[in-house]
């Protein structure tokens, strides 16, 4: 903890020194960022709320689709092979490239950010859930076979609960990616009505208001951090006890 704090203070000191050397047009100093944040509190808050909504929506969609696809892949080897190209496609298509297309289809607003966030978050959720469904030991699988359990019963009583810890740790990764995806979506798909963090970053950079630009970036980082911590807390509360933690 002490070293973390020292490293953070050292980083901030280095930043401050660099800012004094370059001047505020290239790099704003910490107090300048703070001033910009205070002057634009209302817009920053509004932006944070809208980007949060898009991120949470994106994470919800990614979780639903990711878990559904993982269950389908476990259920049937044929379905697993059919799903494979699409999961790879979702992972490799650059969201920056499809965001303009989404604007044509969905118009300006939170829709584009929600979709780009969901695309970014899908794969880690799917991959974690697919791994988790295969987590139960051979003994437990044998036990269910001994009692002639149906596949649905095996899924419900064994596979899904066993997948939960892996899924939650996948969701922590997915949370950060959903924020990135949403902000990339907002670069293209948000016109300032409503204000979003992605929009603020682009707008502030274009109008050479680097203080505001930094403040918006910090707000986005804070959002990702809170999401990470929140999912971590759920993880410890829900599944920590199972493993005696």
């Amino acid at each position: 903890m002490r070293y973390t704090l020292l490293a953070l203070l050292g980083g901030m000191g280095a930043w401050w020194a660099l800012a004094l050397w370059t001047g505020p047009l290239l790099l704003p100093s910490p107090p300048e960022v703070l001033t910009a944040a205070v002057e634009n509190t209302e817009r920053l808050l509004q932006g944070t709320v809208y980007t949060s909504l898009a991120t949470i929506g994106a994470l919800g969609i990614a979780t639903f689709l990711g878990v559904a696809a993982a269950i389908l892949a476990w259920w049937s080897p044929e379905a697993s092979r059919a799903i494979l190209p699409y999961t790879v496609l979702v992972q490799v298509v650059p969201i920056v490239a499809i965001a303009p297309l989404l604007v044509v289809w969905l118009g300006y607003g939170t829709g584009v950010a929600t979709v780009t966030g969901a695309i970014a978050a899908f794969f880690p959720v799917y991959s974690a859930c697919a791994t988790g469904l295969r987590a139960p030991s051979q003994e437990l699988v044998d036990l269910f076979a001994l009692y002639r359990a149906s596949r649905a019963a095996e899924l419900r009583w064994l596979r899904l609960p066993a997948a939960l810890p892996v899924l939650l740790s996948g969701l922590r990764t997915a949370g950060g990616l959903a924020v990135i995806g949403a902000i990339v979506g907002e670069f293209v798909g948000s016109n300032g009505f409503p204000v979003s963090l992605g929009y603020l970053v682009v707008y502030a950079a274009r109008s050479a208001n680097l203080g505001l630009c930094f403040a918006a970036i910090f707000a986005a980082a804070l959002l990702a951090l809170l999401l990470h911590a929140g999912i971590g807390a759920i993880e410890r509360g829900a599944v920590g006890r199972w493993y005696g933690r």
């Binding site: 003994e139 437990l140 044998d142 001994l146 009692y147 002639r148 019963a153 064994l158 199972w242």
Partner: protein, 224 residues
Amino acid sequence: MIAARALGWSPGGRAVLEAFDLDLPRGQLSAIVGRSGCGKSSLLRLLAGVRPPDRGTVSGVPSRRGFVFQDPALLPWRSLRENVALPGQLGVDTEAVDAAIARVGLADHADKLPAELSGGQRMRASLARALVSRPEILFLDEPFAALDGATRRDLASIVAALLPGVTVVMVTHDLADAARLADRVVLVDGPPLRVVLDLPVGSERPRAPSEVAAVVARVEAVGA
């Protein structure tokens, strides 16, 4: 009689069982003894019907079956009581869950999660889960391997008390355990699995140390 005929099982192309035959009498405790990795645990799973053999048949196995694995294999998110209730939830006809828990001496721990139980208690819980379905046959895969002496004796006497109403098939690499408990000691080797010695042990339980030593000596004479 439980009869395995011409059993063949080759997971991943490696022949664990090949044209394997075995007869085990019902109402007795048969101990299948052999070094680890010889395929005896695989045989137990094929006999229990947990996995289908590639070739051959198993007949004469009663339909109400219990299985205790080497690992307790409890669901970590369920309390002891909920774990023992699992067979009933899966549609198996069961006796009262709390009675089964009391039989293994864990009545005071029924609401604990597996992580809150000791290794010996987890193994007891696993036995309770096997007994709750009122099995006519009980399969035990190295059930006492990781236990301390007291728990070991305790579980062994619970298992011995089930005879002759319940058929027991126990796999172990501990020859002394087999000599203490079994009506029949089957020494195996492999893979592919083969029977080296099929030895009926006539005497009553509990057996004197000298009787146990005599059985151990007879099996070791063949095994070495």
